[in-house]
């Protein structure tokens, strides 16, 4: 039987029961639209967490001296030419930064706190949150700038402000404590208070002078795109023998775990929604077959092949799903568009930040995901039509006609 004719018959069968099939369609549309929107929000969340992890002075890949992670301090250092650059031929490198990062104690006349003291070259910090954080006062001018930048929250705790002097104590490369005074150039406002209380920045040359060694404790590299990570890591391992080369998933295992979890969540929600849908779909299709017993019996009697009967039911289900999926995706994308810049979660800012997310949850619709949702839904339509189709070919022509 020509496929065109089968197709025509299926479509007409759908149109025979507009109310019923309209209702079925509505269910498909709601389920697909919900999955598309949820999916884009989960992706947004995932990207947020990964970005935050990478921006948080981690970068995609980091080179550290062995043992630095267990015992961070200036003793766990390595030497690197200050004009070092990644070898040519590594594509997708967005930037790199060489830093000195040591635990330190900071004191104002009103308070004392433990911090991470980070020596940076401001020109290289386009890759970290430092370049995008809102800043009161001035940023560091260059690598030899001997002033410091501290977080708003830390400034409040220490009851200090712009232009004031703070004393910082840290260990020198020789193992003895060093103490020096630093003037506050600027106050930064990061996404999370945790970071503001934790990181204090100065020029890397100034910090090297303080600890008494022209060394670095970390090299952080950021990529334009994550897929280039593996190749880069291999090259760096070759280049820095004796040092540890770690990617952000190893450095931030929590964020990485959340990342994997979000991947799974995308599929879980799809199957949950489709599970809710499939009962109604089978129900509708079986009814549609059973009320056509006589008609199908007659078609069989005049020579229609069983496989044409199966095809008819499968096409009927697929057409329903196709329309539902198309409208559902359109509605889902419209919903995403309506969210605009994102959902404002600032009511729950502390809770959201504890997940490593921003308070503005942007939906990120991915073409691949939408395609996957569409294909899986259509596949489900075919699977759901198998039982009704089997019912349809079980109909014996003679018995059906006698009814």
């Amino acid at each position: 039987m020509p496929i065109k004719l089968l197709f025509q018959m299926s479509v007409r069968n759908i149109l025979r029961h507009r109310r019923r099939n309209g209702m079925m369609l509505a269910a498909v549309v709601v389920a697909v639209a919900a999955v598309v929107m949820m999916n884009s929000l989960i992706r947004g969340m995932q990207q947020d967490m990964a970005d935050a992890a990478v921006e948080n002075l981690v970068g995609h890949v980091k080179v550290l001296a062995p043992g630095y992670r267990d015992d961070p301090g200036i003793q766990k250092n390595f030497e690197l030419a200050s004009d070092w650059r990644p070898p040519d031929g590594v594509a997708e490198v967005a930037g790199w930064a060489m830093r000195v990062r040591v635990p330190a104690v900071i004191m104002s006349e009103r308070g004392t706190r433990g911090i991470q003291f980070v020596g940076v070259n401001p020109r290289q910090e386009g890759i970290s949150f430092l370049s995008s954080a809102r800043m009161a006062g001035e940023s560091l001018k260059d690598a030899s700038d001997g002033r410091i930048i501290i977080g708003q929250a830390l400034a409040e705790q220490l009851e200090t402000g712009l232009g004031r002097r703070l004393v910082i104590i840290t260990q020198g490369a020789d193992g003895l404590n060093r103490e020096a005074g630093f003037r506050i150039a600027g106050l930064y406002d990061a996404d999370g208070e945790g970071m503001e209380k934790f990181f204090v920045f100065t020029g890397v040359d100034a910090l090297q002078k303080m600890v008494g060694a022209a060394v670095f404790t970390e090299l952080s590299i950021r990529l334009h795109q994550e897929p280039a990570l593996f190749a880069l890591k291999e090259i760096l391992v070759e280049l820095f023998t004796g040092l540890e080369v770690l990617d952000w998933r190893e450095l931030e295992p929590q964020a990485a775990a959340m990342f994997i979890f979000a991947d799974a969540a995308v599929l879980i929600w799809f199957f949950v929604m489709m599970g809710a849908l499939v009962f109604g779909l089978v129900n509708t299709l079986v009814t549609s077959v059973m009320e056509r017993i006589r008609e199908l019996g007659m078609l069989r009697a005049v020579g229609m092949r069983p496989r044409s009967v199966v095809a008819q039911v499968v096409i009927e289900s697929s057409v329903l799903m196709l329309i539902g999926v198309a409208v559902g995706i359109a509605l889902g994308l419209a919903g995403i568009f309506a969210m605009g810049d994102g959902l404002d979660l600032s009511l729950w800012s502390e809770g959201v930040e504890s997940f490593g997310m921003r308070t503005l949850l942007r939906p990120v619709p991915l073409f691949d995901d939408v395609l996957l949702i569409a294909l899986l839904s259509l596949g489900l339509g075919v699977v759901a039509s198998l039982y009704p189709a089997w019912r349809a070919i079980k109909i014996k022509p003679l018995e059906a006609l006698r009814r």
């Binding site: 709601v30 706190r113 404590n177 295992p253 959340m258 009962f279 129900n283 509708t284 009814t287 504890s354």
Partner: protein, 422 residues
């Protein structure tokens, strides 16, 4: 077609109401459809019930770990200490206040804490550390943190201290080693304390392990120039769910400047994370139920379509449209009942098993759960009235409305035309 209406071999009597009997029989005229509809209801109710029991279990553990582990169910601090955390913002006459609080209704135990920031040094290594002065006996009745150390024992006497594992590593000190603590006292003078490390704790939470050291309160008070003062009082109460009420009751009678905060107020990141998660859950459950409600509407569209003739006849022999609609409502109720039965049969044992055995989160998630979400590596489902009743009752409303929508047509049904319908 009308055999069900005639009630066949079971004559209606007062002991067995007619309508439910008819509705029940009607259901079995199309078994497949009934089971598919009940299956959809069971899917929605079973899945949401399962998810809600897991959420309830997760939130319960999360709250318990965050509060009963260290932070306490209710915290008392001076308001200016909350705002600016300055060392001199201490609560006075702590001994009396603690005794007073312990006698308040609902309060089980209260423990005072002195919180100082200092430089901890071993030989020529120095790291910033949070020094916590505690009343060990009271702490043990209040939170779990002080019951166990990974190595050695708790600091019990003045001159003893326990430190976090990462801090110990950074200072390269072991049990038996000597730590010197230097900080600023209350009056601005230098505070110094030398102590022997008696134990090392390892919580898996970076903040604790990296920067906390614990010493007896009297020693810390003396070193930092404090009298009978403390920064924070943490309380254990009879039921953590009453945290807000107990905090409010305590606030009615406290020394000026001191406030009691529920765990929700003291640990906003935990309560907000739970709120966001619960809100997301509610949205998803609502959509699942909506999708299922659509299929139930469909079931009744099909049922009513096929039984048009029958309804026409019932109208012709004098049955009111309202009675027919009532019969369909009872049919819908039975479908719901079957769905609930199925859900209990399938999801019930799973939830029961998970509430006893728990669900292992996997290695990667465990690390995350322990450090960030205050969860143990095993999640247990929790069943309570809310979990058991919410989704079934919402689904019941959904099913009844879904059956009502298509049956509104019956009011417009003209007996003669319906009888002639094919």
């Amino acid at each position: 077609m009308a055999e069900a209406v005639a009630a066949g071999d079971a004559p209606a009597d007062s002991a067995r109401p007619l309508m439910p009997a008819i509705a029940w029989r009607n259901l079995w005229r199309n078994r497949r459809r009934t089971w598919l509809s009940a299956g959809a209801v069971a899917f929605a109710v079973g899945l949401t019930g399962f998810a809600m029991s897991m959420q309830a279990g997760m939130y319960g553990t999360q709250i318990d770990s965050a509060t009963a582990f260290f932070a306490g169910h209710v915290q008392l601090k001076r308001q200016d200490y909350i705002d600016r955390s300055r060392f001199e913002h201490t609560i006075d006459d702590v001994t009396t206040l603690v005794r007073d609080l312990e006698s308040r209704p609902g309060v089980v135990a209260v423990a005072p804490r002195v919180e100082a920031f200092a430089l901890a040094s071993v030989d020529d290594r120095s790291f910033g550390a949070q020094v916590l002065g505690v009343d060990l006996e009271r702490e043990r009745r209040t939170v779990r943190f002080f019951n166990r150390v990974a190595e050695g024992r708790m600091a019990e006497q003045p001159g003893e201290v326990v430190v976090g594992s990462a801090l110990a590593r950074n200072l390269s000190v072991n049990v038996g080693g000597e730590v010197v603590v230097l900080g600023a006292g209350k009056e601005g003078g230098v505070a110094a304390m030398a102590a022997t490390v008696t134990g090392i704790f390892n919580t898996g939470m970076a903040d604790f392990d990296r920067s906390l050291m614990v010493a007896p309160m009297a020693a810390v008070q003396e070193a930092f120039g404090l009298g009978d003062e403390a920064h924070t009082l943490v309380a254990r109460i009879a039921d953590v769910d009453d945290s807000r009420e107990v905090a409010a009751a305590l606030n009615a009678d406290l020394p000026p400047g001191v406030v009691a905060r529920s765990w929700q107020a003291a640990l906003p990141e935990i309560s907000q994370a739970i709120e966001v998660d619960a809100l997301g859950g509610v949205l998803v459950y609502a959509i699942i139920m909506l999708v299922v409600a659509f299929s139930v509407v469909n079931t009744f569209i099909m049922t009513i379509f096929e039984r048009t003739q029958e309804f026409g006849m019932l109208r012709a022999i004098g049955m009111r449209p309202g009675t027919i609609m009532g019969m369909l409502q009872i049919e819908a109720f039975f479908i719901w009942l079957l769905g609930i039965g199925l859900a209990l049969a399938v999801a019930g044992p799973v939830v029961f098993w998970l509430s006893v055995q728990g669900f292992y989160l996997g290695e990667a998630m465990s690390e995350l759960a322990g450090q960030q979400l205050f969860l143990p590596d095993r999640l247990h489902a929790k069943v309570n009235a809310v979990v058991l009743l919410t989704s079934p009752l919402i689904m019941l409303a959904g099913v009844q409305i879904a059956a009502l929508i298509p049956s509104l047509r019956i009011r417009r049904l003209r007996a003669v035309l319906a009888l002639r319908a094919e």
